[in-house]
Symmetry: C2
Subunit: 350 residues, 2 copies
C-alpha cells in the first residue's frame, strides 16, 4: 500500500500540515489518500491519441475553438492509466472515444464560462437530444429518419452517437444499457448544477455531494469490465452492495477532480461550485480549512470503498476482478490529474 | 381483435370522419386503434384505493391542495386495468403506489400551471433530489444520515422513496435498476419540456416525440413482469429488439395520453405542448387536421409494436409473456383514459 502520506490512517491537521510542506512540489494534493497507478506506456498513449484524432477529424466532432485542447487533455494517456488491464488497444481506443465525447457535450452544451456555446438556458432541451444520441428514438420510419439526421447535426451528438456505437460493438447489451443509464445520471447532474447556478443557490454539503454523485466520473468507471474483456453479469452489478462500492469509488475519484480543478474553476468563475467552496460556505471558515476538510471527506470515502470492496471480493473472484478494475481506474485517474499540469495546478496555500 | 374502427387497416380520412360520428359519445378518440381491456374488478380497485389512501395519509405524502384529486384519479382502477395478470393484490398495490408518487412529483415539482409549487426555474435541482430518493447517496455515515433526513423533507421525495422501497421488496435488483433508469429518463423528459417552455421553442414533430419518449409512461410499463410475478431476465430485456418493442408500446400509450389530455391541457395553458399542437404548428394546418394526423401516428406506432412483438414472441414464451404484459398495460391505460371523464374529455370537433 502506498499513499501520499506515510500511513493509511487519516491524518489529523498537524499531519496534513507536514505533508503539505513535503509534497508541495510533487503535484499531489497534500494529504490525499491515493494509490500508485501502473505507468502508462507512452507509445500506446500516443497511438490512441493518433487514432482518436483521426476519428474526431473524420466525423468533424469538435468545434474549432476546442481543438487546441485535444493534445492538452491527453486522452490517450488518461485511458492508458485508467485501464491498465484493457484487453487490447481497440477497446482502449473506444474508452478513449467516450472521454472526448463526454467532454465535448459538457463543454459545448453546459459550461457557460468556456465560451463554446454552453448555456444554462435551454440546457434540458440540448441534453435530451444528447441522451437520445445513445438511447434511440423508436416510432415510424420517416420520423426515425428525421431523428437520425438530427443526431448528425452537431459534433457533440455525433461524438456520443458514434462512440457508443463502437462501444456496443464489443460490450454486451447489458453493459451498453449500464452506460446509457450512467450518462442519464450525468446529464441530470449537469442540470442540477445548472439550476443551482441559475438560482445562485449554495447547497449544503450533502446536497452538493448528491449532485456530484450524478455529475460524476461514473460512466468512465462502470465500463471497466467491458474494456478489460469480460462482463460482471448485470444481476451481480445491480446488487445494492455492488452498486454501493461502485458509487463509493466513483464519488472518491470525482472529489479528486474537485480538488485538482479547484484553482482552475475558481479562476474561470468565482462562484463555480466545488467541494471546498461548498464546505467553506457552509462552515463559514476559510477556503484552506475547507480544502483540507474536503481532502478528509475524500479519504474517508476512499477508505470505505477499499474496506467494503475487500469484504465483497472475499466471496467472489469476479467481484474481486471488478473492484480491482474500479480501484485501478481511481489510481490512474489520480495520476492523470496529479501530472496533467496543462489543466490543473494546486491552490497556493502551501 | 377489436379496435375502435371496424378494421385494423389504418383508416383514411373518410373512414375517420365516419368513425368520428359513430364514436362521439363513447369517450373513445375517433379512429384510435386500441384493444379492449380486461375489465377491472371494482371491489379490487376500491381495496387498492383504500390501501393507497392509508399509505399516503400515514406518510403525509400529498399537499392539502392535491388531496381532492386522489379519488378522481382512480389509481386503484388504473392499476387493476393495466395489470390484469398481477400476481396478487400486494403487488398491484405497490404498482398503485408508484402512480401517485410519479404524479405528485410531476404536479408539485414540474407543472407551473397547477399551482402546487411546480416551476421551471430550479427544476433540475428539485429533480436531482427526487432521483436521489430512489438512487441512494453513498459516502460517509454522517452525510448519508443528512441525505436520509433530506429524503424525508417533503411528500414527493417520501412518495418516491417509500414506493420504491416497497417495489424493491419483491422486484429483483435488476428490475429495480430498470425502474430507476426509467425514472431518470422521465426526469430528463420533464427537464426538456421545461426548457422548451422557458425558451418558447416549438419543436419539430420528431423532436417532440424524442422528448415524449423520455417524458413517457415507460416506468409504469417496464414493471409488468415484476407485478405479474416473474422476471424477464435483464440480458433479454436489454437486447436492442426488446428495447425497441418496449419503446414502441410506451410511445403509443403515451401518445394516447396526449390525445385524451389535449382539451384539458389547452384549457390550462394554451401553449402546453402536445402532439396535435406540435403537428399543427409544423404543418400550419388547423388543430383538427393535426389531431387526426396525431391519431394516425399513434396507430402506426401501435401497428409496429404489434407486428414486431409478434415476431419476437414466436421464438420465446418468456418474451411472449412480457410483450403480452406490455399490450395489456396499453389496453388498460386506454380504457382508463377513455372512461376517466373526471380528468379527460375529447375536443368538440365532432
Amino acid at each position: 500500500m502506498s499513499t501520499s502520506t506515510d500511513s493509511y490512517a487519516l491524518p489529523g491537521p498537524p499531519d496534513i500540515a507536514r505533508s503539505l510542506r513535503r509534497e508541495r512540489r510533487t503535484g499531489v494534493v497534500p494529504g490525499l489518500h491515493h494509490r500508485p497507478a501502473a505507468p502508462a506506456d507512452p507509445v500506446k498513449a500516443a497511438e490512441i491519441d493518433r487514432r482518436l484524432e483521426t476519428w474526431a477529424r473524420g466525423l468533424d466532432l469538435f468545434p474549432e475553438a476546442w481543438k487546441g485542447d485535444f493534445s492538452g487533455f491527453q486522452f490517450g494517456r488518461a485511458v492508458a492509466l485508467q485501464h491498465p488491464g484493457a484487453l487490447d488497444l481497440d477497446r482502449l481506443t473506444v474508452a478513449g472515444k467516450l472521454l472526448p465525447a463526454e467532454n465535448v457535450v459538457d463543454s459545448c452544451y453546459c459550461e457557460e464560462d468556456e465560451g463554446r456555446g454552453g448555456a444554462r438556458r435551454g440546457l434540458g432541451a440540448r441534453l435530451i437530444m444528447a441522451q437520445s444520441a445513445i438511447d434511440p428514438y423508436h416510432g415510424v420510419p420517416e420520423l426515425e429518419e428525421e431523428w437520425r439526421a438530427g443526431m448528425r447535426a452537431d459534433g457533440p451528438l455525433r461524438s456520443y452517437h458514434f462512440a457508443l456505437a463502437d462501444y456496443a460493438g464489443f460490450a454486451t447489451s447489458s453493459q451498453t444499457d449500464r452506460f446509457v443509464h450512467d450518462i442519464a445520471r450525468l446529464h441530470m447532474g449537469y442540470l442540477a448544477e445548472a439550476a443551482w447556478a441559475e438560482t445562485r443557490y449554495v447547497p449544503q454539503v450533502w446536497e452538493y455531494l448528491v449532485m456530484r454523485q450524478f455529475n460524476n466520473f461514473r460512466p468512465c468507471l462502470s465500463i471497466v469490465d467491458a474494456v478489460d474483456g469480460y462482463e460482471l453479469p448485470e444481476q451481480i452489478y445491480a446488487r445494492p452492495e455492488i452498486q454501493r462500492v461502485t458509487a463509493l469509488a466513483c464519488n472518491a475519484t470525482t472529489i479528486v477532480n474537485d480538488l485538482y480543478s479547484f484553482t482552475k474553476e475558481l479562476a474561470g468563475d468565482p462562484d463555480h461550485l466545488n467541494l471546498p467552496q461548498v464546505v467553506a460556505a457552509n462552515d463559514r471558515r476559510g477556503l484552506k480549512a475547507a480544502y483540507l476538510k474536503s481532502v478528509e471527506i475524500h479519504n474517508r470515502i476512499m477508505a470505505a470503498f477499499e474496506e467494503e470492496s475487500a469484504l465483497l471480493s472475499a466471496g467472489s473472484p469476479l467481484v474481486e476482478r471488478y473492484v480491482q478494475g474500479l480501484a485501478a481506474w481511481v489510481s490512474g485517474n489520480h495520476e492523470w490529474h496529479a501530472t496533467n499540469t496543462h489543466r490543473y495546478h494546486l491552490p497556493d496555500y502551501w
